[in-house]
Amino acid sequence: MNWQGLELSILGPACLAGLLVLSTHVPLGQQVLARGIIFIDLAIAQVAALGVILAQYFGMDEQGYGVEIAAAVAALAGGALLTWTDRKWPDLQEPLIGTLFVLAATGGLLLLANNPHGSEHLKDLLVGQILWVSVRQLVPVAVLSAALLALMWFRRANLSGIVFYGLFALAITASVQLVGVYLVFASLIVPALATVGMDGTRRLVTSYSIGIGGYVIGLVLSALLDLPSGAMIVWTLAACGIIGRALLAVGPRRRLRSTVSAT
């Protein structure tokens, strides 16, 4: 056991970052699962990274907002492309997303063949380390999350293609840089997966509880066991999902089962 890392000032900003990510990703995750396109976050994150690499390729400065804007524009373009493919070939959306993912990832490698500094940025963009988050960094993400949540609430979760993909692209671009792709994937999918068969407010409350439990327990365990925080949280999120699911199954078992088999 290792008690020295267990300090609010060390774990606090990371925890706040996790809560911000969860705030938008829990409702978006339900959409992702319903649409059956679970790898879309990886694809969008890679497209955002490709945007950054392209911007640098054409001589844009590494620091500053230019890079952020390039990432957001690329992600939105990726979102628009996926909206179009969704409309044109709705049955093939998942394999198309997979193809977009590998094209964006390897496109980055080709552009970076002679520029290893870009690859550091690419890695930052994909692996983002939750413990390095500063409170100052969280302010723009908080504003963006609030705007996205307001928009989602306004549309009553009734998101058409272009609105969904646009929202999703912006949310993912922001969160991936904060906490990395693994955590983004887990935050999207695990709470939604654990609450399949529920609906409405009950599903949202349960999903948020699983997400918050996963982040808090994961951060504390990573401090106590002295393990990398991001990876630890992915595992505690999964554990909370399984435990949450099991607890729910004990109660209204029959009703849950019947709705699951109905979907």
């Binding site: 890392g5 060390i10 520029n115 290893p116 413990l131 002295d226």
Partner: protein
């Protein structure tokens, strides 16, 4: 009476503690194991040392753990390589710790500031690969630079903790004489290696090779940090075969696959060197690190 005595002693201790706020043992955070080992040589138990990384990690990139931030937070001094080796994580770590003592000034010791580095680029150009503007940061494999850094580090310890300056001085003198004797031994032992050619994985060995008068004829990474292309590898196979190379060198933390690939095609042995303290069983301290490195190079001869 005993009670009274205790009270006086307590009061006296309190006064002493207030007058000499630096009387506690220095807490030092070392970014890499070689500096942890050097600190142990220079200060022994007089300071408390935390080492941030291990020999089996690539120190260009590390995973963030809560304990790392906690260690930097309580440090009075951090000792790191510098030359942009830790640029990917040390600034965030210091910022996140909120410890202004080690952010700059005497609490911030970079080994690269104490010596001259090799391969310092004349111009900074992305096309030259993953170069460090501060020069090649892998200088822990040159025993003379280690000695220069030891002197500067010892002065820094004495500056931060003047009460123990005499201890630090005495330990530095002791280390210096043992180290100089060891250098003579290593140089005599490594004489047969002079002029031998090697292929390297990453550009990590320039200081070792320069010291031992060996020659780097090629690298698996065509430019530092850039993965090889097929034409580069083809050229490297021919070059390695043609030049009677001694070995293909890699560090303990690096992926063995590229070196093994080249070894299979050329018959030149791939040798894993410890690279820093803890990189193999024998490298328990700085002396063991150089003993083991030279033994492994000699064993590749045959």
């Amino acid at each position: 009476m005993g009670n009274k005595m205790n009270k006086y002693t307590l009061a006296l201790l309190l006064v002493c503690a207030l007058m000499a706020p630096q009387a506690h043992a220095l807490n030092v955070f070392a970014c890499e194991p070689e500096w942890g080992s050097l600190l142990h040589e220079l200060a022994g138990d007089a300071i408390q040392v935390d080492v941030g990384t291990s020999a089996l990690q690539d120190v260009h990139v590390i995973e963030a753990k809560p304990s790392l931030i906690a260690k930097v937070r309580r440090a009075d001094l951090i000792v790191c390589t510098g030359a942009e080796l830790e640029v990917g994580w040390l600034p965030q770590l210091i910022r996140q710790s909120g410890n202004s003592k080690v952010a700059s000034g005497p609490g911030y010791f970079l080994a690269s500031d104490q010596i001259t580095t090799l391969e310092k680029p004349a111009k900074l150009d992305r096309s030259e690969g993953d170069i460090h503007p501060g020069g090649n940061p892998h200088f822990q494999m040159d025993p003379y630079r280690i000695l220069a850094i030891a002197k500067a580090l010892d002065a820094r310890l004495a500056e931060l903790d003047p009460a123990k300056a005499a201890t630090y001085k005495q330990r530095l003198d002791d280390f210096t004489s043992r180290w100089q004797t060891a250098i003579k031994g290593w140089e005599a032992k490594a004489a047969p290696l002079k002029g031998r050619k090697v292929v390297v994985h990453h550009w990590s060995w320039i200081y070792l090779l320069t010291w031992l008068n060996m020659e780097q004829i090629g690298a698996l990474e065509p430019k530092p940090g850039v993965p090889p292309t097929s034409s580069h590898l083809a050229g490297l196979v021919d070059l390695t075969k043609a030049s009677n190379a001694l070995a293909i060198l890699r560090a303990a933390y690096q992926d063995p696959k590229p070196g093994d690939w080249l070894s299979e095609r050329t018959g030149v042995p791939a040798v894993t060197l410890p690279f820093t303290v803890g990189g193999d069983d024998k490298s328990k301290d700085l002396f063991g690190l150089f003993d083991s490195t030279i033994d492994k190079l000699l064993a590749a001869q045959k």
